[in-house]
């Protein structure tokens, strides 16, 4: 099982840069980049923060791939 995320897609849809999203989520740009490329699995807190920033349900951005 692995967590799949669509952060990059919805971030671009919201016209946000990695830098801006990182700023809003209080993390580094590298963390957002790493997260988008699937190298890093965010904590529940960060996942909730991102979904709140992007104004979407957490299940839309993050899903479990079996």
């Amino acid at each position: 099982m692995e967590i799949v995320n669509h952060v990059q897609h919805y971030r671009k849809q919201a016209n946000l840069t990695q830098e801006k999203l990182a700023q809003l989520a209080h993390v580094s740009r590298k963390t957002i980049n790493s997260l988008e490329h699937g190298h890093y699995t965010p904590s529940l807190l960060l996942a909730l923060q991102i979904s709140k920033i992007l104004n979407l349900d957490i299940n839309v951005i993050f899903s479990i791939k079996e």
Binding site: H26, V27, S28, K30, T31, H39, Y40, P42, S43
Partner: protein
């Protein structure tokens, strides 16, 4: 990553200086137990002064680095090499600490073996006094270096 490189390089310089100063003091100090009066003379050389000076300079540098880049880089003078900007860096720090711990258990075990057999390798009393200092200094620097390398490795891979 810059903050970890800065911190570990500073620590390695200070550890090496401390080891050199200790080794020189051990080399130049005299212990005389031949007479009824037990006589010990410990000489503190200029390397100690250099070590104290460098410690002060690096403390100032750490403070300045923390003030200038601290907010952007997540550097905290109290947390030092364990400074984290966010949860990803916290994870990197945890992984690096774990790797360092694993390496250190092996390195320390090897050091004990070297200490055990060091008296077979040399007859010189001076060398026997120096070997533990050299070993501790090497272990100290290796520990700092392994943490740095592990941190950089995980920073690229996570």
């Amino acid at each position: 990553m810059k903050k970890i490189i800065f911190e570990q390089v500073v620590n390695m310089i200070l550890a090496t200086l401390l080891a050199c100063a200790t080794a020189t003091t051990v080399l130049h100090s005299t212990i005389d137990t031949s007479t009824t009066n037990y006589f010990v003379e410990i000489k503190f050389n200029r390397l100690w002064l250099l070590f104290i000076l460098m410690s002060i300079i690096f403390s100032i540098l750490r403070y300045v680095y923390g003030k200038v880049f601290g907010q952007h880089d997540g550097y905290d003078t109290k947390a030092a090499e364990f400074s984290c900007q966010d949860e990803r860096e916290q994870l990197i720090s945890q992984h690096a600490t774990k790797i360092t711990y694993r390496f250190m258990t092996n390195i320390l075990a090897a050091s004990l073996a070297i200490l055990l057999f060091s008296n077979l390798l040399t007859n010189s009393i001076m060398m026997l006094r120096l070997i533990p200092i050299i070993l501790i200094a090497v272990c100290f620097n290796l520990m700092l270096l392994i943490y740095l390398i592990a941190w950089i490795f995980y920073d690229h891979n996570i």
